[in-house]
């Protein structure tokens, strides 16, 4: 089975750089493996692998006060572990942040253990009024820059979710 598409990863990285992001803090999900490698190899970014997703929330929130654009990159399950950190840091102190996740559990996900994300990921984001947008086609990648800008406008995190079809280069 083919892995995540490197051309799509490069196209995403291009939009991220264009949005002024310099620091990328990541923890992997198989779907974003190529994207992580792209950030690691691209000299426009400082890529920092973190030990758990909450650490990315802490690091990126601090980077805001350092005047640096940052991105927390993780799987859907990782976001589910970050609810406390997001509400406590980013909501309490009104700190913007951009978070990329995988839209696990949607049609096309073949991992049975992500069924729970299919059931609860979006309801959880909605329950804490966490704005998110889902990109499932290559022609939707301009949403990335809009999401980064929107986070700054509302002084809160904004999530961008990518589908498997997009990340594997199987969408339009």
């Amino acid at each position: 089975m083919a892995g995540p598409d490197r051309e799509i990863a490069a196209a995403i990285a291009e939009r991220v750089a264009g949005a002024g992001i310099e620091l990328v803090a990541s923890l992997p999900d198989g779907w974003i493996a190529a994207l992580i490698e792209e950030f690691e190899a691209d000299a426009r970014f400082d890529h920092i692998p973190v030990n758990r997703e909450e650490s990315a929330v802490g690091l990126c929130s601090g980077a805001f006060f350092g005047g640096r654009g940052s991105l927390a990159l993780m799987g859907a399950s990782g976001l589910m572990t970050c609810i406390y950190a997001i509400t406590k840091i980013n909501y309490t102190y009104m700190v913007p942040m951009t978070i990329f996740i995988t839209m696990r559990g949607r049609l096309g996900d073949r991992a049975k253990f992500h069924v729970s994300n299919g059931l609860y990921l979006e309801p959880v984001m909605q329950s804490i009024d966490l704005p998110y947008t889902v990109i499932d086609r290559r022609d939707g990648l301009d949403e990335i820059g809009r999401a980064v800008a929107h986070s700054r406008t509302i002084s809160r995190p904004v999530v961008v979710g990518f589908t498997r079809d997009l990340l594997y280069g199987e969408s339009g």
Binding site: L23, V57, G58, G66, G67, Y84
Partner: protein, 200 residues
């Protein structure tokens, strides 16, 4: 061996010059507020459950000429000791991470911790590959050792062994947004960074 927490922090306040400070929940925030009343050079990061040092690391990363002091409580630290691997990876020469080791959850009536205060945090830090690790159990040790902490000032990690405070102190009387803007404006004014009007 352990120091009185107030005496320990009073010594750090005496040595405090231009460092930007990030405090964690409970006793560290309360004590720093009690001793300094500072509202601009300190970010009182309440109840982040282990993220104070990485929050501070983000600041240190963004502003290399700012020296940043971060305080973690041992209760928070045990929730996420893997943070040290990230700090090592970042290798920031302008970040000093103080771990306040009192063996109890100071923010919650000093309820005991899972490790019963037995963890050797300095050994843990060394095992994670941090190079500049310090452990201070007496005020004399702290007085003697802080010169070296400040001299290395690179991915420095210092364990402060202190006695439980014996009660809570008043919290800094600021809501989150006030803390954000006071601190952020200070950084903008002092270091010339663009935070609130950045294009990002």
């Amino acid at each position: 061996m352990a120091m009185a927490m107030e005496a320990c922090f009073a010594h750090l306040v005496e040595r405090w010059t231009d460092q930007v400070v990030v405090t964690s929940a409970g006793n560290a925030s309360e004590m720093w507020w009690k001793l300094t009343g500072e509202t601009e050079r300190v970010f009182y990061l309440e109840a982040s459950m282990s993220l104070a040092s990485l929050f501070a690391a983000g600041i240190a990363y963004g502003i290399p000429r700012a020296n940043v002091w971060a305080f973690s409580g041992d209760g928070a630290f045990l929730m996420n000791p893997g943070m040290l691997t990230v700090e090592r990876r970042l290798g920031l020469p302008n970040l000093t991470h103080f771990l306040v080791d009192n063996g109890v959850y100071g923010a919650t009536f000093e309820v005991g911790m899972s490790d019963a205060g037995e963890t050797d945090y300095a050994a843990l830090a060394r095992a994670c590959g941090l190079r500049n690790v310090f452990r201070f159990g007496t005020l004399a040790d702290l007085r003697d050792g802080m010169d070296e902490v400040e001299r290395v000032n690179g991915e420095a990690f210092a364990v402060l062994e202190v006695e439980p405070l014996g009660g809570a102190l008043p919290d800094p009387p600021m809501d989150g947004p006030e803390c954000k803007f006071r601190f952020g404006r200070y950084l903008e004014r002092t270091y010339g960074v663009r935070i609130f009007d950045a294009r990002v």
